[in-house]
């Protein structure tokens, strides 16, 4: 009897290697051997233990060869042993109830052996499967660990690469900064010297040779001097701008009123002899850099003074207002103002909204102001109307207490 492989493998997970035919053949052979052994021992055992060797055969077959072959061994072995060794010999003892009852223990024991053998076998198969599973899982785990280690290694490598790159970039930045600094130094030193010469010799020309020169020549000499002085201012303003960019904000508590007073003293030479109504309100105290804030007010106040030159009296107001919890400081003047159309150009370097003949200037002042405000984390903007004046508003990071 040949069953399909899939069928047998369902009920018998262990004897995978042998075909069904092989298993039945081996079972048959074992049964025969068991019978032969009992037969050989028959003279010694006589009527005792008629099923002993058959039982052993059943155990062997049940364990190794599966359910079907063990049932076969059980049947054949039982019939043979009953026929050969159970008295009355050479009969199959199914005739009396006694004989039938006498065989029941053997059948029960056999069934138990078969059931036990198969379930032991299944248990072993399950254990094997578990073990295989466990091994596979372990392999899997090991793989995962290896993979994770590789990933960690990769992260570490990338990190160190990144660190290296940061170091490189920092070194480059430091070098660039140093270059920039030496450039600024050269500009401040080397550009100013020739300007002094131009201005100096033009003036000596005026002083020493004035009587010999025509009025036209004197006017040209004056223009030479004016040009060199303008460029001197430009160099100074640019240096200021670059210093503001470079400088770190040294924050401390700064009362803006005292900064405004210092700025007013600083621009005195420009406001002397003019009729200006200063209206200075009570200003807050900010956490900021006193030097930078001073420069900020010098620029804003000098601008206000400059662009109110044609007003008598000029009115310049410095005060604060609150808006959405922010403290806004403003500088308002009644000067010439500007067209709001150009307000986007206001804070650009070298951007000017007035002709040089009207109002002198380098176009760097408000760029410097913007940098200072940004360095403090604030904002600056302006409102103006041509002929009616301008107002500059700014905030600084709200870390200070309103004073």
């Amino acid at each position: 009897m040949i069953t399909s492989n899939s069928n047998s493998s369902k009920s018998q997970p262990a004897p995978e290697q042998r075909s069904t035919l092989q298993r039945y053949a081996i079972a048959l052979a074992i049964t025969a051997v068991a019978f032969a052994v009992r037969l050989a021992l028959d003279s010694k055992l006589q009527d005792k233990f008629p099923f002993a060797t058959t039982t052993m055969a059943i155990i062997l077959v049940a364990w190794h060869l599966g359910f079907g072959p063990s049932v076969l061994t059980c049947l054949l072995g039982f019939l043979a042993a009953e026929w050969a060794f159970v008295p009355p010999r050479h009969t199959l003892g199914f005739n009396t109830l006694d004989q039938l009852v006498g065989n029941i223990p053997f059948i029960c024991v056999s069934a138990a052996i078969i059931w036990f053998g198969r379930s032991m076998h299944a248990a072993r198969a399950r254990a094997d499967a578990h073990a295989r599973n466990a091994i596979e899982q372990q392999k899997h785990l090991e793989q995962e660990i290896a993979e994770r280690k590789r990933a960690e290694e990769e992260v570490r490598r990338l990190n160190s690469e990144l660190e290296l790159r940061v170091d490189q970039r920092t070194a480059e930045l430091v070098a660039t900064n140093a270059e920039l600094e030496s450039f600024t130094y050269s500009v401040s030193h080397d550009l100013r010297a020739p300007l002094r010469h131009v201005d100096g010799f033009a003036q000596i020309l005026e002083q020493e040779c004035g009587p010999l020169l025509s009025p036209e020549a004197l006017r040209y000499a004056a223009k030479i001097r004016q040009g060199s002085q303008n460029m001197g201012r430009l160099v100074d303003d640019l240096l200021n701008l670059s210093r503001v960019g470079k400088q770190e904000v040294n924050r401390q508590s700064v009362p803006l009123n005292s900064v405004v007073n210092e700025a007013l003293a600083e621009i005195q030479s420009e406001t002397n002899g003019r009729q200006i109504e200063w209206r200075i309100g009570s200003l807050p105290t900010f956490d900021g850099d006193p030097g930078l804030l001073r420069l900020l007010f010098i620029n804003l106040l000098a601008n206000a003074a400059k662009y109110t030159r044609q007003r008598t009296p000029a009115k310049i107001e410095i005060d604060q207002m609150q808006f959405n919890g922010d403290v806004i400081v403003f500088v308002r003047d009644n000067g010439v103002g500007f067209n709001m159309k150009y307000s986007n150009k206001l804070f650009g370097v070298f951007q000017r909204l007035h002709r040089a003949e009207e109002f002198e200037g380098t176009g760097v002042g408000l760029a410097t102001v913007l940098r200072i405000v940004r360095k403090h984390g604030g904002k600056i903007w302006a409102e103006a109307e041509v002929g009616k004046g301008a107002t500059f508003f700014f905030t600084l990071a709200p870390s200070g207490s309103p004073g």
Partner: protein, 153 residues
């Protein structure tokens, strides 16, 4: 009181600057003896009475030295360092006059013991006024101490 064979030692490499400074000094109406040297090495030779100035004496130091910082051979800060480190020259007033007012130069100058630090203005009017004021201050107003060598002699 030591006698002075030089009132002002002007250490300046730029001939244009020298001419402008001399013009300004002439216009200041101060009769002063001015010696011009053109680099740091020459300045040190003059003040330490070496080389072409070996005939000079430490007894006759200039009343003031106007020192530029950017100088050939030995730069101004080094000249300052050597002068202020030597007891024979450390009492000579040194005024650094330079085009730049870089913070690091200022700090270094004052650390080395400079007596005054001035940024040369671009405008000649201001320059001329500055030279006049400085000359009056250092030659007329300021009192100087006799050099130690002279005191021992």
């Amino acid at each position: 009181m030591a006698s002075h064979d030089t009132d002002i030692l002007l250490v300046e490499d730029d001939p244009q600057d020298v001419e402008l400074a001399l013009f300004a000094l002439r216009k200041s109406n101060l009769t002063s003896l001015i010696q011009v040297v053109r680099d740091g090495e020459e300045a040190l030779d003059f003040l330490f009475c070496n080389g072409q100035f070996s005939g000079r004496s430490f007894n006759h130091p200039p009343r003031v030295v106007f020192l530029d910082l950017k100088l050939p051979k030995v730069d101004g800060l080094q000249v300052l360092r050597e002068l202020k480190n030597d007891p024979r020259t450390k009492m000579i007033p040194i005024v650094v006059m330079t085009s730049s007012a870089e913070q690091r130069d200022l700090q270094e100058g004052y650390k080395l013991g400079v007596n005054s630090y001035i940024q040369k203005p671009v405008g000649f009017d201001a320059f001329q006024k500055l030279i006049t004021d400085l000359s009056y201050y250092w030659l007329k107003t300021n009192q100087i101490s006799s050099p130690p060598v002279a005191a021992r002699a």
